[in-house]
Symmetry: C2
Subunit: 376 residues, 2 copies
Amino acid sequence: MSSRRNFLQKLSFSALAIPSFYTFNTGDKEANAQPFDTQPYDGPVLRVALMGLGSYANRVAEAMKDCKMAKLVGVVSGTPSKIPVWQKKYDIPDKNCYNYENFDSIKDNPDIDAVYVITPNSLHREGVIRTAKAGKHAICEKPMAVNAIEGQEMVDACKAANVKLLVGYRMHFEPKTLEIIKMRKAGEFGEIKFFQGLSGFIIGNPNQWRLDPVLAGGGSMMDIGVYSINGARYLVGEEPIWVTAQETKTDPVKFKEGVDETIQFQMGFPSGAVASCLSTYAMNNLDSFFLNGVNGFAELQPASGYGPIKGRTHKGELTHPHKTHQTIQMDEMAEIILNGKKPIVPVDGEEGVKDLKIIDAIYSAVKSGRKMELSL
Amino acid sequence: MSSRRNFLQKLSFSALAIPSFYTFNTGDKEANAQPFDTQPYDGPVLRVALMGLGSYANRVAEAMKDCKMAKLVGVVSGTPSKIPVWQKKYDIPDKNCYNYENFDSIKDNPDIDAVYVITPNSLHREGVIRTAKAGKHAICEKPMAVNAIEGQEMVDACKAANVKLLVGYRMHFEPKTLEIIKMRKAGEFGEIKFFQGLSGFIIGNPNQWRLDPVLAGGGSMMDIGVYSINGARYLVGEEPIWVTAQETKTDPVKFKEGVDETIQFQMGFPSGAVASCLSTYAMNNLDSFFLNGVNGFAELQPASGYGPIKGRTHKGELTHPHKTHQTIQMDEMAEIILNGKKPIVPVDGEEGVKDLKIIDAIYSAVKSGRKMELSL
C-alpha cells in the first residue's frame, strides 16, 4: 500500500493513546457507513466506466456497489492484466472493456453514459477530451489538470461536445462539511475572518507517479494542498483575490525539480478574511480545517480524509453519520448528470479551473516571491 | 475592563456549550492555583518596585502576594491619585513611592533591588535605562521595546551599569510549556517539521494606548503576535533564518497608520522546519500553538493566556497543575537575579532583542512584500 493510501485511509498516529484533535480517525472504520438509501429504486441509472485502474479506482468501484443511481459498467486501462481481474470482480462484459488504443470507439457503445478519469494528473486532460469527443459525460479526479489552461481546454471540449464535466470533489457532498456551509450561509459564525487549512502527510515510495513532475504536474500542492485551497473557498464562501506562498524543500532527491515538498500559502478574500494554509509531503498527518467568524467557529479534523470526518462548531459536535464519500459522490453526480440537480457546492469543470488558477498563482508566487493578484 | 484584559482573562466564547480545542478556558478559574511553596522561607528576597500602575501591574501585584522570593515594596507612577491606593493595598511606605520626576533618586534607596517596567511599550526603553543608571536590576514587560535597536540600547545600558535585565516572558516558566520543551529536547517528537501559532483577539476601546502607534510602537504584532514568535522559537528550539509576512487591514479608522490589525507571518528554520503564524486584533479568541514532528506532536490551547494553559501531546494530556504565571515568574526571576539560576528558556535582554529583530523583519517583509533573511 502506498503511503498516500495509508494516509488517507488510516490517518492515525501509530503510537497514539488518546483521541486527539490533531490526529485522525482510521478511515477503515466504516462500520457505521450506511447505504445511500434502502428504498428499492428502479429509476434511471448512470452507467460509468472507470479510466485508470489504480488504487483510487478500486476505492471508487467498491463504493459504487452501494450506489442507487450510478453503476460501474466498464473499464479503461493500459495494463491488459488488470482487465480480467476487474471484469470478474465487478461483472463487466467484454464489450465494455477498453485500452487507450481502442478507447475512442466507446462512442459507439450505447451502454456507457460516463467515463470517470482516475489516471495520473497530467493524463486527465487527454482522458477527458477523448471522453467528450466520444459523446460521453466526463467525471475527472482532482486536480482536474496540471494547470488552468489545460483545465479550460477540458471545459471547452465538454461544452463543444454537449456533455457534462464534473470534478471528483467528494467533500462537496460530505454532510458535516455541508452543515458548516449551511451555518455560514445562515450567518451563524458572523463575519468570517480566518480560515486555516493544514493538508499533508509523509509520502512513501519515491518511485510513484505522484513524485514524477511530468505525471503529477507538481508535488504536494496538486495532490493534497488542493484540499486546503478548495476547503478555503467553500468554507469562507468567497473567491480569493490574492495569494502569497513560500516553498521549503529539505529533500531534493526525493522531491525533484518541479515537485514541491512543502508550501505554506496564504490567501486574501474580498471581505478582508484571510487564509493560512500548509501543503506538504514531508509532515505527519495534517488534515484540518478551521473557520473563525466574529460570532463562532467551525473545525473539521480530519477534514478531507476518506472519513469518518470529525467536526464541531461553537454550538457543539457535528454528529451526522458517516457515509462512504465516493458512494454519495457518485449518486449525487448521477443526479446532476441525469436529472440536472444543482449541488450545494459546484463540482463542475469551472470549479476545477478556479482551483487550478489558484495553484498556478501559488506556484508563481513561490517563484517570484511576490504576492499574486487573482480574479476568479 | 479593556477587551484585551477580557481576552487574556476570559478567553471563552460566551455562547460556548462544549469545551473546544479552538476556544479557551476562563483564566479566572484559579481555584486549583497553588502557592509556589508551602515551606517557611527565610532566605533572600528580591524587593521589587512596579513602574506603570495599569491593569497588568495590578495582576502582577496580586500574583506577587504568593511569591516566596519576590516582594512588592515600591511603586512608580505618573498618576498621583494611584499612589495612596496602592500604598494602602500593598502596605508600601512613602519612601518607596516615586513619580517620573523623582524616579532617578531611587538609586539612593537601599530597600529596592529591582524595578519591573510595565508601562506602554514605547516607554520601556527609558524606564529600563533609568532603572539601570540608578543601579537597580530591571525587569521589563514584553515586547521589551518598539524595535531591536532600542532593545539593544537597553541591554547595553544594563551591562554598563552591571545590573540584570530580564523580560517578562511568563510562559518561559509555565509547566506544560516546559514539559513540551523537555520532550522535544529528548527527541520524543522526532525531527521537528512545523509550528503553528495563532494569537489574536478583538480589541475593544479604540482610545487605549495599544492602538496608539507612538505608545504601542505597532499593533497586534507588538502585543499578541509576539507570543507566536516567541512560542515558535522555544517550541521549535531553533532561531528563524527567514520571515515572510502579509498584512490585512479592514478597519483603517480603528487601526491607524502604523498599527497593524492582522498579520500572517511565516518563518523558516535551519533544519527545514517552518512556522505559520497569525497575529490579529480583529478575530475572536485565537490562542493556540501546534508543534509537529515526524514522530509526534504537541498542542497548547490556550497557549499563552493567563491560564490555566491546556496542552497535550501524542502521548496524552498534560496534567501539570496550574499556578498563577506571574507568581512563578517573579519567584524564578528572583532566583535568577539573587542566585544566578539559569532558566530553561532564557528571559534576558538578549532574548528580548531576538524577538524584536523578528518583529522588525516582519514589519519590513510587510512593507517590501519580500522574504527577509535573518541572522539571530
